[in-house]
Symmetry: D2
């Protein structure tokens, strides 16, 4: 192994990333070094590189949190991973393992967590450090580029669906059929749910149908709400809002069944106005959901490994990251872009 690796680095918020040679990091106790095979590009990476959020990364840093590859070196005390084993490194890089949230399998709520590609370096690079107990175990023979988006987009929608508490045979509506929504449809079908897909472009609605939605409805149609009420006989039991906007939220509030749950994923700024009368009279639940726990990720990966969920991906070499960022900002990306680190 040489001592240097290629990485895409943010030196200044809002400026293009720089592709450079930097030293390969060394795994500390309880950590492993991962040779990156592929890394998905997520909107959170855009926010990280732009310094959009209140708590910003410390410069310079390497983004990327849909990281998959193989174990290249073991830090002290790591006995349950082997060199060459396929692993993933998700947004939740590590957590304290001792707070009430970590103790109860809700480590995504730990106040002492580190986040990959944000507070610690991520996967837009040839190597990355993972915390051994938080690295996702991947099945042998997995297609790295295809599984990469499961690490964030996949588990986020899967967890969001679980949080609706909809049961097999019930209806979920998925609002927004982009990188999250199109895998959400597949998870929902694999979970035995009936699915209404909502979006505003014909292409996305076609994609939704191909991904298995029982019905795909133009959210801008004047009778969109009525269509959902009709097909679901009274409203969806669960609603997953992948792109929380004020109009989308106002609309789904009219589409949710009495006693139903609206699950919000995604992190736009701002507030959404919630009508008290409806929420109380219909016993509606509104709930936020953030990525997924280790267990959620194991389950999300298992569905994908069984072939029940497949993210639509395009690969590109690491050097293309700035173009990809431009295209994402312009809304030009279909499905998910994944950096194939061995390319180029």
């Amino acid at each position: 192994m040489t001592h240097m690796m290629k990485a895409a680095i943010v030196h200044e918020f809002g400026r293009p990333l720089s592709i450079e040679e930097v030293p390969i990091p060394q795994p500390g106790p309880g950590e492993v070094l991962v040779k990156v095979a592929a890394c998905g590009v997520c909107h959170t990476d855009l926010h990280a590189a732009a310094g959009d959020w209140p708590v910003k990364p410390t410069l310079p840093f390497i983004p990327g949190h849909e990281v998959v590859g193989t174990v290249a070196a073991l830090g002290a005390g790591v006995s349950d991973l082997r060199i060459g084993e396929p692993v993933g490194v998700p947004w939740l890089h590590d957590a304290c393992r001792a707070c009430e949230h970590c103790e109860t399998g809700w480590e995504t709520l730990c106040e002492n967590q580190h986040n990959t590609g944000y507070s610690v370096n991520g996967g837009f690079a040839e190597y990355v450090i993972a915390s051994a107990p938080f690295a996702a175990r991947l099945p042998a023979g997995v297609d790295f580029a295809e599984i990469a988006p499961i690490l964030c987009a996949g588990v986020t929608t899967y967890k969001g669906l679980k949080e609706t508490e909809a049961r097999p045979g019930e209806w979920v509506a998925i609002s927004g059929i982009g990188g999250l929504g199109h895998v959400g449809i597949q998870y929902a079908k694999a979970m035995g749910l009936n699915v209404v897909a909502l979006d505003i472009t014909p292409d996305k609605l076609d994609l939704a149908r191909r991904d298995g939605a029982d019905i795909a409805i133009d959210a801008c149609a004047s009778d969109a709400i009525q269509q959902v009420l009709d097909v679901t006989s009274g409203g969806a039991h669960g609603i997953l809002v992948t792109a929380v906007s004020v109009p989308a939220f106002a609309q789904v509030l009219q589409m949710v069944r009495r006693r139903g749950t609206i699950s919000l994923v995604g992190l736009p700024a701002g507030e959404f106005p919630t009508p008290i009368f409806d929420v109380v009279l219909k016993r509606i639940t509104v709930r936020g959901s953030i990525v997924g726990t280790r267990r959620d990720l194991d389950e999300a990966v298992a569905f994908a490994a069984q072939g029940k969920v497949k993210s639509s991906v395009k690969t590109a070499p690491l050097e293309e990251i700035n173009h990809i960022f431009e295209d994402m900002k312009a809304g030009k990306i279909e499905g998910r872009m994944v950096l194939d680190i061995d390319l180029a």
Copy 2:
């Protein structure tokens, strides 16, 4: 039994009620006639008499939905109630018993329900009709005036607390220590919960302490949020908002623990702005709750019958109803006013 009874009747929205002699109603199949002993006066009665809500009662009508008394006559086919048995008639007068909500013990969400003192005549009268399967069974020897407010104020707060999903040993915060909040504190203590009470007047905070709150905090204090975070070591697991207002809601969002639930009872008009970032990152649940089911009411009554919950009541004769309404509008009522129908 004579054929006439005294009742307080709304002939026109927003005008004083008229105390009149009207025919005693006859119970139909599956119904019973109840001789009213006492009837609590709830804010909903004010809204009903004022015609405040979109779907209004049909004039003329008799308000009152915290009705307690004894069975005076049985309609055809009623075999599980006896003459003289103590019963209560709650807001949920009857429901369809066959929809998905009725089938699953959520009849409060039935779209074909009737409401006492609103869509059917209520308990501001010497007699009222009840639907046999929806009449609450009361323990022998119960104090009618004391139990009356359990029929609405009691069960509403009890159910709202259940809906927070807080478990014994965890913390709930109760925002607003009025007619609902002061019984809510007692239910929470009886449920093994630790209680933070929040209000803005010293009198209400004193009442909260007497009712068993572990700590009572002035919601206007500049460090109110910090006090709650400190005493609960990170925020309340559940929050019951008895008086939903925009500032109260904004405040409790800062007081709720990660993964906690805010339960809203009460039906003000309007919307409350919900901050997406916090709700998602902390996995907060916001949930409406409306009165309680038959089972909830049985449980709420049992706590009261055991002496664990006691509503603070003052009694007055039926003829005082218009004065009571005036005092309620002026915010002059402490605890709950209950019409003692045998007085006068």
Copy 3:
């Protein structure tokens, strides 16, 4: 309509049923008369006709509780069913609707229930009485013979699977692939579960594979337990035992995952020995499950109506009932026998 109908009647326990003309019953208040189209034959019918259980039917009576047909006449006060509407009449003929179990959607536990074909006359006849609120609503155009077994075999296995609390993506094992088990496999797959089928005959294992089992294992194989532990990576999260026998129960206790649940359906006499050490150390849950509630039945029917579950049936005319009983006792029935009442 003539006043007489054909029916198969038990006059004496353990003797052949007698096919006779008897008066068509009249629906009372809240009841409907159902023109029977088809009626499945269940093992419980055998027990009923033999007088096997402690509380026996009152002689003479008409068995049959997987009844489907159309509404032929409405009793007084029935407003939510129409003449000609397709309905089903399940084992749970009616319940009190006011006890704690009825109030909470667990009417199958009501102590004042009546059972079709047991304490009230059943569907081995041209007409049967149903209680309007307990009659199952069937989709228009349903195939009566195919849907009949859902009324008991279907809902029983569906409910039993729900009671395992296994979630989509987890493993269930189904022990016994007869009339119950073969629909259980289909429900489990529709619910997003992975399925191990266990039986002791090659034919049944083949049937299990055709019905979608991920793996079918010979329960008599010396390595049967190890096979289950291997394929499930540690044991099944849920186990449905459709034929509770001492050896079957002893075996599945070694196949259940730590924290898993064994759900028992079926009503053999006797006791099964439960090993304390395993149950405690592995936190195993053992739970009985009996038929299903109205809501469970609605859900079970919906899966069948969607084509996701299909019972394997053979039809025969009512006159064949005694031959069918003989074949059932001899274990000669494949799938489910359904009486087609219009035949003959």
Copy 4:
């Protein structure tokens, strides 16, 4: 600190423990050294010292798993504990933290756990090693002798009660009012439950009443079952069996409410015969429960620290351990014996 400590050591199964001077152990990475203040004596210690169970401790070893004291030294990498901080060391010494059970807050089911006083040395000594993330944090100023039994007896009963899923206001029956049962009563009351206590000696029944049981019933009375059915109006929602025996189990099966849960703690050998008919028809749940997780222990300690639960303890010096074992075998112990390590 000297280098030697006093300890009670098992050199041979079934022989008296030897009080000796042995080297103080050194904490490894992630571990702490705890100066023992007190250690409760549990029946499991008897089984350990006798080598009663299939998987035996490796000789020689130090028993004791209700250990409390203060942190005396920190191993490498421990940053969240401080010297002098009060901590507890429970039966669950450590677990793998990465299996599906550890990931979901069920580390008590981890197949790679170590157990204090069994597979690693325990607290019948002046010092003991704890795993930092598994050491229980105790409140400042706690009474060590009083809190010690919470580490095993307390958390075991508390968890067992949680596992009944009985809710505040419902009834639990607690069978066996010994070291486990008498704290179980207190936990149940603190959880808002109504409590029936069952035992066969008047002394224990008196103790149960003093500990807050709503009713204490002689389990040998011919009408014991009927008394429970009467006072609970139909059977207990939850039953905690602290001393699983065949007759006790057979009895509580007749005392459990329809849809109720029987929770078994304790580890006798053997099997209990479970009647299928009752379990199925009444939808009874039988569930094992083993100690409690870290979170359960935090909660159990918090109830005790609030003064809501108090174990009845007697203290003795370490040198008395063999006499205590003799008394325990003879059934002569009232409440809990706790070794006060500073005595003598």
